[in-house]
């Protein structure tokens, strides 16, 4: 290898989305096709608490999901001027700002959704050591907003 007819599979189509938010209100500011890979690191498999963006088809099936790590931040960090002093957090009076994600958007994608996942009860109690037990329950997701995907 490489062999005579080596052919790298096409990169999955991805979109860069930029959102603006104020409080819990969110608006899609821009969407563009972007030629880049999205690794498994960002394609959420475990549904921990947090905000995510979904790509969905016309039947509302989720095709891919990526974390929006900086969305709706209710606090911000303040850094010390001198090494060794504490980094501290301060609450923000009214969350306001912007965030971006790059998400795989297969051809059948027709909309994107901003989703809040609340912690699943099971996060609190992992099964005991040495077992591979099935765990009950699942995280709950709530749509904060959905937007049509218009890029082509």
């Amino acid at each position: 290898m490489p062999s005579k007819e080596s052919n790298q599979p096409a990169t999955t189509r991805a979109a860069r989305l930029i959102f603006e938010y104020e409080g819990e209100r969110v608006r899609l500011v821009s969407q563009q096709v972007v030629e880049m890979v999205v690794t498994g690191f960002d394609i959420a498999r475990a549904h921990h608490a947090g905000v995510y963006v979904d790509a969905r088809d016309a039947e509302d099936r989720t095709l891919s999901r990526v974390p929006a790590r900086d969305a709706f931040a209710t606090s911000t960090e303040v850094f010390p001027e001198r090494a060794g002093e504490a980094i501290v957090r301060v609450d923000t009076a009214r969350p306001k700002g912007a965030f971006t994600v790059v998400i795989p958007v297969p051809q059948e994608t027709n909309k994107v959704a901003v989703v809040r996942v609340v912690p699943a009860q099971l996060d609190a109690k992992l099964p005991a050591g040495g077992t591979t037990s099935r765990v009950a329950g699942a995280a709950e997701a709530t749509d904060l907003a959905t937007f049509p995907l218009t890029l082509n």
């Binding site: 062999s3 912007a98 099935r134």
Partner: protein, 635 residues
Amino acid sequence: MSTADGAVIGTTQIAGSAPRNRAFNVVLLAEGFTAAQQNDFNNACMTFVNTFRTTPPFDELSAAINVFRVNVRSTDTGADDPVAAGGTGATVRTYFDASFGGNNIRRLLICNTTTALQVAAAQVPEFIVVLLVVNSTIYGGSGGSVGTYSLAGGATEIAIHEMGHTAFGLADEYPYYAGGNETGHDHHPAGEPGEPNVTTNSNRNTLKWRWAVASTTAIPTMANPNCSQVDGRPNPVPTGTVGLFEGAHYYHCGAYRPEYDCKMRALSVPFCRICRQVIWNRIGPLATLSARARTPISVIARFPEHLDVFAVASDGRTVSNWWDQSSGWAGWFNLMGGIASPGGPGSPVTAVHRYAGHIDLFTVGTDNRVWSAWWDAATGWHSWFQIGDLVCRQGSVINVVSRYSDHIDLFTTASDGRVMSTWWDVRSGWAPWFHVQGGVAASGAPVTVVARYPFHLDLFTVGTDNRVWSCWWDERSGWHGWFQIGNLQCRPDSTVTVVSRFPDQLDLFTTAADGRIMSIWWNSRKGWANWFHVSGGVASPGSPVTAIARYSGHLDLFVIGTDNRIYSTWWHENQSWAGWFNVSGGVGMPGGQVAAISRATEHLDLFTVGSDGLVYSTWWDGATGWAGWFALGVT
């Protein structure tokens, strides 16, 4: 006070040479630099690059990192500095509207994040991280989707800490919210944080970073004796020791961090071992995988539109990649610090899915003990744990079968060649290892298994006489003694591959002492047939024969030939075996293995280590035939 107060000049790549569509791209934006001050911005960018690329683990990942600077001119210099927050009262006209005094705290340097993201997306659409460099010597910075920092000494450290949140999903490890004198932060609330570098779990056996904790390290390593305050005592263990240190994630007690210190706890200190691992797993998957030369690859299809692949890297790290129809290949990532035992082809990572939302993994570690890890759709990966204290042969293979969803059977060889087994059941957990019917395998021979029925197991191996032996277990009658199958003489390290096309049929494939590819079959009506040579094929010494049945009347075989090319043949009901053919020109490793899976009847996916040491894949589809080989990474 807006984009009217300046203009974007242009973009220059200042570090890295990775292809932009598969790289960790960092964009630096100029703020508060006039047209005449652009050189100051360029110099500040080089200072950032030097700090960033010498910060572990970025120093080892620089092949996958690009840094770009976007020169933007502003009408005025610096940033706003409101009097109310203790500033000079300066108001300046700049492109991104940067201002000190966010939340009335002078050091909190904020900007118009929408504009910053839009400029970055227009200039470098593939960016991962965007940082705003503000032309001021007043100390300041902030995090979020756009990290900001000023030219005051040490402010690049802010950018790297913030990258920990934005790009890597790391939690803050500091044990206070407002410096330690706050109220309401004595005890962390119940529940396990989702981030990989903080935990509320103090159980050594289920700790999420237990793979990094030495058995000699106390757990917890440091407990806070007074939860009303931050534990200010010095580190009781050597720097770099991974354990469980109480005080993390904004609370004095009840939450733990992996090391005493970390850049997610304080600026100007290195990232801890766990954070470095997370950063590796964010950037590493952008690359292809150099594999252990003969590592057997495992692949499972939990459902037809999804594949999970497991391999071992050239340095022994246990790695995985996955493919989903909607998102493509995810990229190779390290499985929780695991290192597989060398010896022979090296221990592979074997996998089983008892049901669609669950994966169990098995390997032999460098201590030659059996280790397992699992993944669950709801909770993600769970760290390696040891199964019993069996000492295996170096490089032993763990073969696994799940006869039904709440049960696992494992088979391997002990250091003296004894055929060993254990099982796990949802009700009783792991059983002790036991020796199967006195069987002893030849040096290097694995033990293969098939469950033709949920209540029946058939085992195969090459015995110390280099002949093929089998034994079976039935729920009603228990284990039955070993018996020899024909009189074929094998290589001692031959694998006996078994396929059950339907419950009352077995097809075996292996290699004779001279490398000839041999087969034999059994069915419940006619018993065992005789060994026969399959279409004149000869395997590279040590290469196992891979066989799969896409449906009951069809078999496909794959092997590395004596010229190291990848060959295939097939058998179809009522026809004879086809001739061997080279699959898409592929060349593998001497003695290597080809992994194959059929996730749909008219589809095959193959995986192997190519002659250049990278993992390659190809596929066959009934409608389109064989595709070319491609280096497996991220798509």
